[in-house]
């Protein structure tokens, strides 16, 4: 199992990113074990309770952390490509914007922001144009899924407008009895 030191000529510094991953795995192992420790027993007949498997997983995670440390020192991790971070930030920002807006502005506006910022992150596009088309596409999607497939999607001003417009158009076609109040 022992590897010949063919890589001796390579740099001797450990792979720092891999060490960070190992630390993360170890932290996760401790978290799982801590959570398991406060669980009550159970499964009188099974003799293994809700805490048994979490403990087993914690031990394995700790083992994988150690293995990752060894791999970090032996440079077993493959090379990473150069990453271009601004686009990633645009997209993450878009997801955060959607989260922040969805309760107050409704589906179309929130998702319009996500659409525009993702498009901006992936290439050179005009942000206002992307935002406008994003809101229009989202409003259309909202209409199809919320009205026709009866999915619960949060409604905001554009959605209320759409609903009213739809009812206005369909009102004459609806049967008169029952709908009168």
């Amino acid at each position: 199992m022992i590897e010949p030191m063919a890589q001796a000529n390579k740099q001797r510094r450990p792979d720092w990113a891999a060490l960070v991953i190992a630390a993360g795995l170890m932290a996760l192992a401790l978290l799982v074990a801590w959570d398991a420790s406060r669980l009550g027993a159970g499964g009188a007949y099974a003799r293994i309770g809700p805490q048994t498997i979490p403990y087993a997983i914690a031990i394995c995670l700790a083992g994988l952390a150690v293995w990752t440390i060894i791999a970090a020192y032996r440079h077993d991790f493959p090379e990473r490509d150069q990453q271009d971070f601004p686009p990633v930030l645009w997209i993450v920002g878009g997801l955060i914007a959607q989260m922040a807006l969805i309760r107050y502005a409704g589906f179309s506006i929130a998702t319009g922001f996500l659409f525009a910022m993702t498009a901006r992150g992936m290439g050179k596009v005009s942000l206002p144009l992307a935002l406008l088309s994003g809101i229009l596409i989202s409003a259309f999607v909202w209409f199809v899924f919320a009205r026709l497939l009866q999915l619960t999607l949060p409604a905001g001003p554009p959605e209320h407008l759409l609903t009213q417009g739809y009812e206005l158009i369909t009102a004459p076609f609806k049967a008169a009895p029952g709908s009168a109040t």
Binding site: A44, Y45, T152, G165, L168, G178, S179, T181
Partner: protein, 316 residues
């Protein structure tokens, strides 16, 4: 001309929502789309609008933790708002206790119990257990040797198994209850004789009972149910009735008149032809119980459920 059309459109847009406002309802199903509560909410929506009881009914889904997440959100949103309703059921009673939910059913206004289903105990066709007396005898001799397959821990099936043991004079803590997730997993275990008995709603076992692969040895109904071929618990010597029901509540802070108005609408719903037709197609049993009676029944059940969950050891 243009102006006229625009004015008409605007007037219409403004007038429509106000016209419909009088009988609007928004029903929350505190579960994912597709489940039993969701189906109940959407059936209510269908019947309320088609019968003209309400002009516009919206259904919203807030899934999670046996309905307790939806309930907590509902209490905040629906305070003093007579247009908001929430659907729920017996499962919620257990979930509130086991999850130690901060918001309980005390915070909402009971409107009515709508539908229900009874629990059955089944054994494989070739089992040496013939009837409830045989099951009780085996249970008393060695509780661990009887494994019960049913739904998740703390759910209706588990509670019924605990109550059954308690009523039969066996410590509910010693019940060897094996939880299965839905979709026929428990059924497979009973069919394969992996477990001694199965306990669940009749719907779960119906097809295999009719095919002769399983036998019903007990039903949790107060009297014989037409479609189920088996004795009630009481006939088998265990005096116990359990119903897995679904009902509807309104928000807190409503006046007596507002509550009464909602109750009247729901009563209209229950007596409507559209609702009866839905019950028939879905195979639901009508166990309608209006406001005050529902409230009393609910209080009794909550006390009994808390006691049995403590006995089983799920609630400290």
């Amino acid at each position: 001309m243009k102006h006229l059309v625009a004015t008409a459109l605007l007037a219409g847009a403004l007038a429509l929502p106000t016209a419909a406002l009088a009988a609007d309802y928004s029903i929350m199903a505190p579960a994912a789309p597709g489940g039993g509560w969701d189906q109940t909410a959407r059936s209510m929506q269908e019947a309320l609008t088609s019968e003209g009881i309400s002009g516009n009914v919206q259904v919203t889904n807030v899934p999670g933790a046996g309905g307790t997440i939806g309930l907590a959100q509902f209490v905040q949103e629906a305070n003093g708002d007579p247009s908001k309703l929430i659907v729920g059921g017996y499962v919620m009673v257990g979930a509130i206790l086991t999850n130690k939910a901060p918001v309980t059913l005390d915070a909402v206004t009971p409107i009515a119990r709508l539908t229900g289903e009874y629990e059955v105990i089944v054994v494989p066709a070739g089992s040496d257990i013939q009837d409830l007396a045989g099951l009780v005898a085996k249970l008393k001799a060695d509780p661990g040797s009887v494994s019960w397959a049913g739904g998740s821990a703390g759910g209706t099936d588990h509670i019924t198994a605990g109550l059954f043991a308690k009523t039969a004079g066996v410590d509910p803590k010693l019940v060897n209850y094996v939880a299965f997730s839905g979709g026929g997993e428990a059924l497979a275990a009973v069919l394969g004789s992996q477990v001694t008995v199965g306990i669940s709603g009749y719907g779960e076992f119906q097809s295999q009972v009719e095919a002769g692969a399983l036998r019903v040895i007990g039903v949790s109904a107060p009297e014989k149910v037409a479609i189920i071929n088996g004795p009630t618990f009481k006939e088998g010597g265990v005096d116990l009735v359990v119903q897995n029901w679904r009902g509807v509540w309104a928000g807190p802070g409503l006046s007596a008149e507002q509550t009464a108005a909602i109750g009247a609408d729901i009563e209209k719903l229950v007596n409507s032809a559209a609702w009866k037709k839905i019950l028939e197609t879905k195979g639901w049993i009508n166990t309608y119980l209006p406001g005050e009676e529902f409230k009393t029944q609910l209080a009794t059940e909550i006390t009994a459920t808390e006691a049995i969950l403590k006995d089983i050891g799920l609630v400290q």
